[in-house]
Amino acid sequence: MLLIYCPYCEEERSELEFRNAGDAHIVRPTNIAEISDEEFEEFFFLRQNPKGLIFERWRHIHGCGRFFNAARDTVSDRFYTTYKAGEPKPDVAAILKGEQDKGAAR
């Protein structure tokens, strides 16, 4: 079971409290009635499915109830970071480098 840090509650809680909500950073087209079938397929059906770094939404459904985003590795299932909805994608390379530097300083 995953341990997930909710950026609103500022607390690490078990996966049982959360619901995965799929790919993050998908913006609903404002002209949804006018877009082509290809664009609709892209918006509605096509999702990232990377082997490695994924940006995904989670909802703290049995907690604060809010949606937030996470950067996670889909091979190790390790969370690099979680961040509030509306914030830009974090720089995962910088996060990893920061950890490395901290490790070296120790």
Partner: protein
């Protein structure tokens, strides 16, 4: 190929079993093939077998990054049935079931197909209405499926608890008598042996790292950890990794990869005569010929390639199993594992042409690919050989997510199947 028979067994018994050779060859890859199939599971090996047997195309390689049958073919719960709701699904799963019935004879390899019956439990009025709709649809289409009362269900599967005050009361069941199980490893090995005998190259430990295309967009071959291998046609049949491979050719596909878990108990004396599934409480169970209870759990909620899965998923399934079959409460579980299943939004597979000329896709079998192995392989071979889908797989196209012609088994089953 040495034909397996009772006489071969007798002859080898007299010779101290020194005459059994390898079941399939392990050749060095050629520079170039007519067809490359990526993925050495049951679907991929079967497609190669049918390409050689039914379409006369033998200059074929099956590339497998690990060992054959080591992915989902070796990780599933081996359930076979064809009682789906929609015609597109019934077509392909029933085609598959008919091939299962004679597969051991066809391959001269005992796949241990056992039509012991698949019984799906109904727990409430919604289940009952949904199952009866399935039963009617199936019977109108010529597929066996019948409704059982709780007492009939208990008679068919004596360990079942049908008490009125049970935690998950049972108000009936749908039974497909031709459904059952088969030996998953034997399916991969049997197809590998048959394909290899007809000249197909089975190349293990060969991971595809890129798909090459010429200036017109046609595929020309694949880059692998054993160098470039040319091909005029490429079939992708790589389950959870299909979207990763399609990305190499620049094609995005509506697939999500998630862990699906299964587990087996310690071996027990034979006492569980059929396969029982319960969609509502999410559990499925059968007993293998070794005596282990084979139990299937659900998928995890997030995308992952980790081949493990959360403990809460299997405990949830075991909770349900212990309520349905109180006699299993003290049975010890022996092993647990996960496989990576590729799930589409409508929970129906994708088998068809892709926007890239020469590239064919067989994926999205999600949580129910094993039962489809012979049928899917047979029709995938047809697709690759002819360049257009067989009538029975014509609805499973990749472009249905654009045209809107979905095959919504997700809503029909309301559960992984």
């Amino acid at each position: 190929m040495r034909k397996y028979s009772v006489f071969a067994v007798a002859r080898e018994a007299l010779r101290g079993h020194k005459g059994w050779g390898p079941q399939w060859a392990s050749p060095e890859p050629r520079k170039d093939y007519d067809v490359i199939i990526i993925g050495g599971g049951g679907h991929g090996l079967g497609a190669a077998y049918y390409l050689a047997k039914e379409h006369g195309i033998t200059n074929v390689a099956v590339l497998e990054k690990g060992w054959i049958g080591g992915g989902n073919t070796g990780r599933n719960t081996t359930i076979i049935r064809s009682n789906y709701l929609y015609e597109e699904s019934m077509d392909i799963y029933e085609h598959s079931l008919k091939l299962w019935e004679n597969l051991s004879q066809d391959l001269n390899y005992n796949v241990m197909y056992s039509p012991r019956g698949v019984m799906m439990l109904s727990h409430n009025i919604h289940d009952q209405q949904s199952f009866k709709r399935h039963i009617n649809a199936n019977r109108l289409y010529g597929i066996d499926n019948e409704w059982l009362t709780p007492e009939q269900a208990k008679a068919y599967c004596p360990p079942l608890d049908i008490a009125k005050n049970a935690r998950y009361p049972i108000n009936g069941a749908a039974l497909q008598r031709r459904g059952g199980t088969a030996r998953h490893d034997a399916v991969a090995w049997g197809y590998a042996r048959g394909a290899s005998d007809r000249g197909v190259h089975i190349i293990q430990n060969c991971e595809v790292t890129g798909i090459r295309r010429d200036e017109n967009g046609n595929v020309t071959g694949v880059d692998t950890n054993r160098g470039f291998i040319g091909a005029r046609k490429i079939g992708v049949s790589a389950a959870g990794h299909s979207s990763v491979l399609m990305e190499m050719a620049g094609v995005r596909v509506p697939l999500q990869s998630q862990p699906l878990q299964a587990l087996v108990s310690e071996p027990l004396k034979p006492m569980f005569p059929c396969v029982v599934m319960s969609n509502s409480v999410h559990a499925y169970i059968s007993q293998s010929d070794k005596g282990e209870l084979v139990i299937g759990a659900g998928t995890d909620q997030y995308n992952s390639y980790s081949q493990t899965g959360g403990l809460q998923i299997i405990t949830h399934t075991l909770d349900a199993i212990c309520e349905l079959f109180p006699m299993f409460r003290r049975v010890k579980m022996m092993r647990q594992w996960g496989g990576i299943v590729d799930v589409t939004q409508d929970r129906s597979p994708i088998q068809g042409v892709t926007p890239v000329p020469g590239l064919f896709l067989n994926a999205g079998w999600g949580t129910g690919g094993f039962k489809a192995t012979p049928g899917s392989a047979n029709l995938f071979a047809h697709l690759i050989a002819r360049g257009e889908p067989h009538r029975l797989a014509a609805g499973l196209t990749l472009d249905r997510f654009r045209t809107g012609r979905l095959i919504d088994e997700a809503a029909a089953a309301a559960v992984a199947h």
